[in-house]
């Protein structure tokens, strides 16, 4: 009970922090994941192949093929970007430290590599930090709010026109990423929309081409092996 005033203060703080939407009906406060929280995240290791359409601002910038290997238990990620012609533009692994094996322009900056890994984690992994609040928003949608190790706020919202939204805000409450997953599709990863607010805003529309389970042991071998 001694914590109650602090938690109320925390809710008010979260509600007033920049662009973060106010949680009107806080149902629970916890440092742990709550079972009622929307959780569109991976439960087991998967390999996913998506067609990815890219936009810079509102300008279409073509499409690429994205391959992702992700293990939620170890937070291992291996990923590659290929052109329609099969040329590998980018290949990297986070296990957990980032290793870039190939990066051709325009994917050759370290910022790009880190942002891409962060985006993949945001889409497929449950937030790594603590859950700070959960409840409903003014529009009635369910929400759980987390704060990651970097101080960013991550909102996971359900009930928005059959979509699940993952919104990432900076520590000062500026919206940095908005991810929409479509619950009406047979597979939650069938159609993913990602909007990024950066120095150069970009948007990705991902359409699932293939998905298959992966043995976690294989991912360990990848992490330990010498990938070229």
């Amino acid at each position: 009970m001694k914590m109650a005033p602090f938690l109320i203060f925390l809710i008010l703080l979260l509600s007033s922090c920049g662009g973060l939407p106010a949680i009107k009906k806080p149902a629970y406060l916890s440092g742990e994941q709550h079972s009622d929280c929307p959780s569109p995240f991976l439960k087991k290791p998967l390999r996913l192949i998506h067609a990815i359409e890219m936009k810079m601002g509102k300008e279409p910038r073509g499409a690429v093929i994205g391959v992702t290997l992700a293990d939620p238990a170890t937070r291992f990620i291996s990923c590659a970007i290929l052109t329609a012609e099969g040329v590998v533009l980018f290949e990297a692994q986070a296990a957990p430290s980032l290793k870039v094996f190939r990066a051709l322009p325009p994917f050759d900056s370290l910022d790009f590599a880190q942002n891409m890994i962060d985006d993949i984690k945001l889409i497929f992994f449950a937030p790594g930090g603590k859950m700070l609040a959960g409840g409903t928003l003014e529009d009635g949608t369910e929400i759980c709010r987390y704060r990651d190790e970097g101080g960013n706020w991550i909102d996971v919202r359900a009930g928005i026109a059959e979509k699940i939204e993952i919104n990432k805000y900076s520590s000062t409450g500026i919206l940095k990423r908005q991810i929409k997953l479509d619950r009406t599709k047979g597979n939650i990863y069938q159609h993913i929309e990602l909007t990024a607010q950066e120095r150069f805003n970009y948007a990705l529309t991902m359409t699932l081409l293939e998905m298959e389970p992966v043995e976690s042991e294989l991912l360990k071998e990848d992490a330990e092996g010498d990938v070229k």
Binding site: A63, L69, A84, E85, V88, K228
Partner: protein, 205 residues
Amino acid sequence: MVKKYLLIIMIVFVLLLPGWARAADFEQLRSDAAKIKTLQALFVQKKQLKILSKPLISEGRFFYVAPDAIRWEYLKPLKSVVVFNKGEARRYLMSGGKMVEDKSGSVQAMSIVLGEISNWLGGKFNRNPSFQASLKKGVNVMITLVPVDKNMAGMMEKIEITIAKNTMAIKSVKIIESENAATIIDFRQVEINKAISGSLFQEIK
């Protein structure tokens, strides 16, 4: 990136020439190449990478009209088209439900290299010192190209072309990029000197 695109296109373009299929030596290839007026084929491409458990399959088609019109088109899983016509190259990608031109600076470099391909089509294979070629006969005919140019060698280890001995038609091309990466292109329905519409090499809208 551009080099990679063009390398694959160049390799496939040269390898589709019937001269490679019919001739037992490289001198014969040169004279046979000049007989090609048009060429078209379907292809299935298998991309092998360590991150993939099974190859990523792409399908497409290829067109050439002498002396310098090329269309290299992928239909699945993503649509893309490279068109080279009258010394100018354009690349298009499907985006937002329509074909969008790739406006990156890579297109300029593409023009230069595709111009080089035109030389090859004229039978001037030995003018490009980038590869060392060897030929081996067995159940099939195998042509191996090993890059000698340092920049090229950094992009691939070798290329293996398999030609069916009975029909002397190109069966497949294997581009070995590294220990963990390879591209295999299987050709079918190769047609030589059949009429091809000029509209295939026009701007795509």
